[in-house]
C-alpha cells in the first residue's frame, strides 16, 4: 500500500471535513473492500488519506420506526445477521447480510461499506504488481477488455457509459459516436440524427471532409479495421438532408432577441442553426455570393459536392435564418452597425489571407486557397504543364489533386515535413499518390526561378533537416548547402493561411486581437467585448471544420444564455449500452465505393455513400465501449426492490437513485458520507434474497434476486423484484412486477414474468447461462 495519512473520526462532521481537506481521501467503513483495493493498487491514484468511520460514536444501530426500520451505516453485517428483530421484520435484509462473503468478513464489514463498494470485474481489479494494472474504460482508460475477452461473470444487461469513449474524446466536438451507432443498429435513424445534431448540424458535410481522427482511436483497430465512422456518419448525414424538413424546423416560439453573425463558414452556420432553434432572430452577413465558407469555396467538388452545402444552407434558411450575401463587413456594413442592431454578435470570418513567406519571386506564385476558390476560372484557362505544389497539409493535397484533374501533365509536391510528419491525412496522401502526384519530403522554399520574360521556370529548394524544435514548436532548420531545383511553370503555395482582422476597423481590431493576431476568445468563445463572440479559424487559427463547428455550438449556447435564454442540456443517455454480440467480431469494415482512378473528375464525388443497410451493418461492429462490470453489493438489490432510503450527511436518496451510478458513491459530493439506511417493513409480504454463486461462501453473486410479494384473494396484489450481479448496477424489474400484479402465482405466469424481465438482456459470449439462473431464481422466489 502506498503511504497515506490516517484519521480516526469521532463524528460524521469531523470525517466529512477531514475527507474534504485532502485532494483524494477515502473513508474506511469495514475496510474489507478498500484495503484489498489499496493493496493491489488497482487504481492509478492512491488516496492521500484514509478516514476511519468506525470510531464515530452512535453510528451503529438498528431502530424500529413502526413502518420502517433504520440501520446505522456503521452497523456490522454480523450484527444484522444476529438480530432476531431483523430476521422477522426485514427478512430480505437479513438474508442478504448472511449471504455476504464469509463470517470472518461479516465480523468487520458494515452495511454502509457494503452499499458503497466498487464494481466487480477481473480486468478492473487486476493487481498492479502482476504486470501492471489494466487501464480499462471504468478507470479512465478507453477500452473494456471484457467485451471481447473473458466475460463469464460480467453484465448480461449491457454496459454503462463511462463518459470517456476514445472516439468521442478524440472528436473536437465530442460527438456521441457510439450513441448514434446504437440508434442506427436499432434502425432508429431519427434518434441517431437527434444525437449527432446535438453537437453537429452538418454531418453530411463533415463526414466528407473531416480527417476523422476518431477512427484512429477506435478500439476495433486492434483486431482489424477500425469502425468506418465517417462512412456511417455520411449515410446518416445524407438521411438528415433527405429529411431536412424534419430536422431543420422553425422554432415553435420567437424570443424576439436578435443575433448578428459575420461569416457563413461552418462556425457561423452552426451558431445560426442552434440560435435559431432557440427562437432567436438570426441574420448572417456573408462576403461571398454563397454560404459555406471554406466548405463552399476551399474544398474541391470531387471531395464535397457543393449541392450538399447548398441544400444545408437552404434548410437553415427555411428555419428562418436571414442571409445577407455579397455583404462584406468593414466595407458594405460596419461592425458597429451590426452590433447596434443585434443583442449578440458572432464573428466567423475565417483565415483567407496569404501569408508572406518573403522568398524571391514570391509574386510569381499562386496562392493555394485562391486556386481552389477560382478553380472554375482555371478550368477555362490552360493550367501549367508542370505544376509544383508547396505544402504538406490537406489543402496542399486538394490543390495537387485538383491540378491533376485540371489536366496538368506533371504534378509534384514539396513540403518541409518528412512523410510521417505531414499534417495531411494518410488517406488524402494515398489518394494523391494514386493519381500520380510525386511527393518530395524534407524540402523548404529557397527562391522562385524565372525566365527573362517573367515566366516561372522552377523553384530552388533547400534541404530541411528538421521541422520542429525539441519542444515540438514549428522551427524549421535548413541546410543551405543542399539545394535542388524543381522545374515547374506553375507554382502554387499551400503553406498555410492567415487571419485578416481589418474588417473590424481600428478600434475593435485593437480591442479584440490576440498576441497571435487572431480574435482572442475565452472558454465560452466570448471576446473582450461583452456580447460579442467568435469562433472558427478567425479565433482558433486555421484548423478543421469540426473544430469550427464546436466553436459555433459552444458560442451559441453562451450567447443564448447571455440574452437570458439558457439552453436546456441534452438528456443524459439512459439505459444500458448494447452492442451486436456477433458483429463486433467482424474484422472487415464496410467501405464506400471509390470511382476508378481513370474515371475520377473535378465535377463528381469520388466515392458513393454506404446504403443505409450497409451503414447499419457497419454500426453493428461498434462495441459501444463502456463498462460491462457487475454490481456486487448484496444489499443493493434488496434496497432497490423495497424502495429503501439512503441518508447521507447531505441528502436523502431513494435507493433507485443512489444505485443509478456504476459505483454508487459517484453520486456523492466530496466529503459526503452515507449515515443511515431506512427500509420499509413490507408487512404482509413474502420477502427474501436469493444468491447464486459457485462456492457457498466468499463468492460474489453470479446472479441474485431480491423479492417481495403479497397475495390477496388468490392473486398477487403487489410484487417487488430486483436483481444483482447481472449489470453494473442493481436492476429493478418493473415490467415483470406490473405483469404479475393481479395474476395468480402460477409457474406459467412466473416464467412469463422472467421472460419479460430479461427481454432486453444481451449476454456476452460466455455468460448466457446467467439468463437461466435468473429464471430459476424467479421460480424459487415464488415457490413454483
Amino acid at each position: 500500500m502506498r503511504k497515506f495519512d490516517h484519521i480516526n473520526a469521532e463524528s460524521y462532521e469531523e470525517a466529512s471535513s477531514a475527507l474534504r481537506s485532502y485532494k483524494k481521501a477515502e473513508p474506511i467503513a469495514g475496510g474489507t473492500d478498500l484495503i484489498g483495493t489499496l493493496k493491489k493498487q488497482i487504481l492509478p491514484d492512491a488516496p492521500e488519506a484514509v478516514v476511519n468511520l468506525k470510531t464515530i460514536k452512535d453510528a451503529s444501530y438498528i431502530r424500529d420506526n413502526g413502518n420502517t426500520v433504520s440501520i446505522g451505516a456503521m452497523t456490522k453485517l454480523c450484527d444484522i445477521e444476529d438480530s432476531d428483530f431483523l430476521k422477522t421484520e426485514e427478512k430480505a435484509v437479513w438474508d442478504a447480510a448472511r449471504s455476504i462473503a464469509s463470517p470472518i468478513i461479516r465480523n468487520e464489514a458494515t452495511i454502509g461499506g457494503n452499499i458503497c463498494q466498487d464494481v466487480r470485474c477481473w480486468y478492473y481489479r487486476y493487481p498492479h504488481a502482476i504486470g501492471g494494472r489494466l487501464m480499462c474504460a471504468r478507470k479512465g482508460g478507453d477500452e473494456c477488455y471484457a467485451i471481447k475477452g473473458r466475460n463469464q461473470y460480467h453484465s448480461i444487461m449491457g454496459g454503462m457509459n463511462t463518459g470517456k469513449n476514445a472516439c468521442s474524446t478524440e472528436c473536437p466536438a465530442g460527438t456521441d459516436i457510439p450513441g448514434y451507432m446504437a440508434r442506427i443498429r436499432e434502425d432508429d435513424w431519427d434518434g441517431a440524427a437527434e444525437i449527432i445534431m446535438r453537437v453537429n448540424p452538418m454531418p453530411m458535410l463533415t463526414s466528407r471532409v473531416c480527417p476523422h481522427t476518431c477512427q484512429t482511436q477506435c478500439n476495433q483497430c486492434e483486431d482489424g479495421d477500425c469502425i468506418n465512422i465517417h462512412a456511417v456518419e455520411r449515410a446518416l448525414g445524407d438521411y438528415i438532408l433527405e429529411n431536412a424538413d424534419k430536422f431543420y424546423q422553425k422554432p415553435a416560439t420567437e424570443t424576439g432577441k436578435k443575433v448578428g453573425i459575420v461569416g457563413a463558414g461552418p462556425a457561423g452556420l452552426t451558431a445560426a442553426y442552434y440560435l435559431r432553434k432557440e427562437g432567436h432572430t438570426v441574420t448572417v452577413y456573408e462576403k461571398m455570393e454563397e454560404a459555406g465558407g471554406v466548405l463552399m469555396y476551399g474544398i474541391p467538388e470531387y471531395r464535397l459536392p457543393k449541392h450538399y452545402v447548398r441544400d444545408l444552407v437552404h434548410a437553415i434558411e427555411n428555419m428562418g435564418v436571414n442571409f445577407c450575401f455579397n455583404t462584406e463587413v468593414g466595407k458594405d456594413i460596419k461592425i458597429e452597425e451590426i452590433k447596434e442592431a443585434n443583442d449578440t454578435v458572432f464573428l466567423d470570418t475565417g483565415a483567407w489571407k496569404q501569408p508572406i513567406l518573403g522568398i524571391d519571386g514570391e509574386h510569381l506564385t499562386h496562392f493555394g486557397l485562391n486556386f481552389l476558390v477560382e478553380v472554375k476560372a482555371f478550368m477555362n484557362r490552360q493550367i501549367g504543364k508542370n505544376v509544383l505544389v508547396c505544402g504538406g497539409g490537406n489543402v496542399a493535397m486538394d490543390v495537387a489533386l485538383t491540378a491533376v484533374r485540371l489536366g496538368a501533365q506533371k504534378v509534384k509536391l514539396v513540403c518541409l515535413e518528412q512523410r510521417a510528419e505531414m499534417p495531411a491525412s494518410a488517406e488524402e496522401i494515398a489518394r494523391a499518390e494514386e493519381e500520380g502526384v510525386e511527393i518530395y519530403n524534407g524540402w523548404g522554399l529557397g527562391r522562385v526561378i524565372s525566365a527573362e520574360d517573367g515566366s516561372v521556370t522552377g523553384l530552388e529548394a533547400k534541404r530541411c533537416t528538421s521541422v520542429f524544435d525539441e519542444a515540438g514548436h514549428f522551427s524549421p532548420v535548413y541546410d543551405e548547402n543542399d539545394k535542388e531545383v524543381f522545374e515547374s511553370d506553375c507554382i502554387i503555395l499551400a503553406t498555410g493561411q492567415r487571419v485578416d482582422l481589418d474588417f473590424l476597423g481600428e478600434k475593435y481590431k485593437e480591442e479584440l486581437k490576440s498576441a497571435r493576431g487572431l480574435i482572442e476568445i475565452g472558454e465560452h468563445k466570448d471576446t473582450r467585448e461583452p456580447g460579442v463572440y467568435a469562433g472558427g479559424d478567425a479565433a482558433s487559427g486555421p484548423s478543421v471544420a469540426i473544430k469550427a463547428i464546436r466553436d459555433g455550438g459552444i458560442a451559441a449556447r453562451h450567447m443564448s444564455e447571455y440574452m437570458g435564454y439558457p439552453v436546456k442540456p441534452a438528456p443524459a443517455r439512459g439505459g444500458f449500452l448494447k452492442h451486436d454480440p456477433e458483429r463486433i467480431f467482424v474484422t472487415e469494415s464496410m467501405k464506400e465505393k471509390d470511382t476508378p482512378v481513370a474515371e475520377r473528375s473535378l465535377e463528381n464525388e469520388d466515392s458513393t455513400s454506404l446504403t443505409r443497410e450497409e451503414a447499419k451493418l457497419e454500426a453493428g461492429r461498434c462495441m459501444n465501449c463502456g463498462c460491462y462490470s457487475v454490481n456486487a453489493s448484496d444489499m443493493s438489490p434488496v434496497l432497490v426492490a423495497f424502495d429503501a432510503e439512503i441518508k447521507t450527511t447531505e441528502h436523502t436518496f431513494g435507493a433507485d437513485q443512489f444505485f443509478s451510478n456504476m459505483h454508487s458513491v459517484e453520486i456523492l459530493e466530496p466529503g459526503e458520507i452515507v449515515t443511515e439506511i431506512t427500509v420499509p417493513k413490507m408487512e404482509g409480504y413474502e420477502t427474501g434474497y436469493l444468491k447464486m454463486r459457485l462456492r457457498e461462501s466468499i463468492d460474489f453473486a453470479v446472479t441474485s434476486l431480491a423479492y417481495a410479494y403479497k397475495e390477496e384473494n388468490g392473486v398477487l396484489a403487489d410484487v417487488r423484484l430486483a436483481a444483482g450481479g447481472i449489470a453494473p448496477v442493481p436492476v429493478r424489474f418493473s415490467e415483470a412486477e406490473a405483469f404479475l400484479k393481479g395474476k395468480a402465482k402460477t409457474a406459467e405466469n412466473v416464467d412469463q414474468a422472467a421472460e419479460i424481465a430479461l427481454k432486453d438482456a444481451q449476454p456476452l459470449k460466455e455468460n448466457n447461462y446467467k439468463i437461466q439462473e435468473v429464471k430459476v431464481q424467479f421460480r424459487k422466489a415464488f415457490g413454483v
Binding site: 490516517h6 464469509s102 463470517p103
Partner: protein, 160 residues
Amino acid sequence: MSKELTLKVNGETYTFTVGDNLGQIPETETLVETLRDRLGLTGTKLSCGEGACGCCAVLMDGKAVASCITLTTECEGREIVTIEGLSDPVTGKLDPLQEAFLSHNAFQCGFCTPGIIIAAKSILNKNPHPTVEEIEEGLSGNFCRCISHYQVIEAVKSIL
C-alpha cells in the same frame, strides 16, 4: 507529536507510536504484519492477503476477523487474541479446542489450522452449542487445500 497506539494482544499491552521512523508503525501496516514481524506471533499465517482464505484470522473482541485486511492503527483498545493466546499463559496447557484438533488429526499440513481454530473459537464464543450446519457456516471462510474439514467438524463437535 506522533500518535500513540496501544495494542492488547493475548492479554499483554504493547505501546507503539504511529509513523514512518524505525520502530514506528506506519499507517499502512496491517495487523498480520504487526503480529508476525513486530511481536513474533507467527502462528497467524498470511496467505491470500484479501480476507478470502481465513488463514490470518485472529479474535478481535471475541470475533474472528481477517488480520490481513485490518489496519493496525485501527486496533486501538481492542482485545486481540491469536492462536498463541489460546493456551494457558502460565501452564502452557492447550485450549480444549486445540486438544480436540490434535486428537482428531484435524489438519494435514497445518498452515490453515490456526485460522480454523480461531474461527471455531469465534463460533463457540457466540454460540456454545452450534449445530453442524452452524459450524459449517461459521467455518465457510476458512480454506484448506488438504481437505481437513471433515476432521475439523468432528473435532469441534467432540467438545460440545
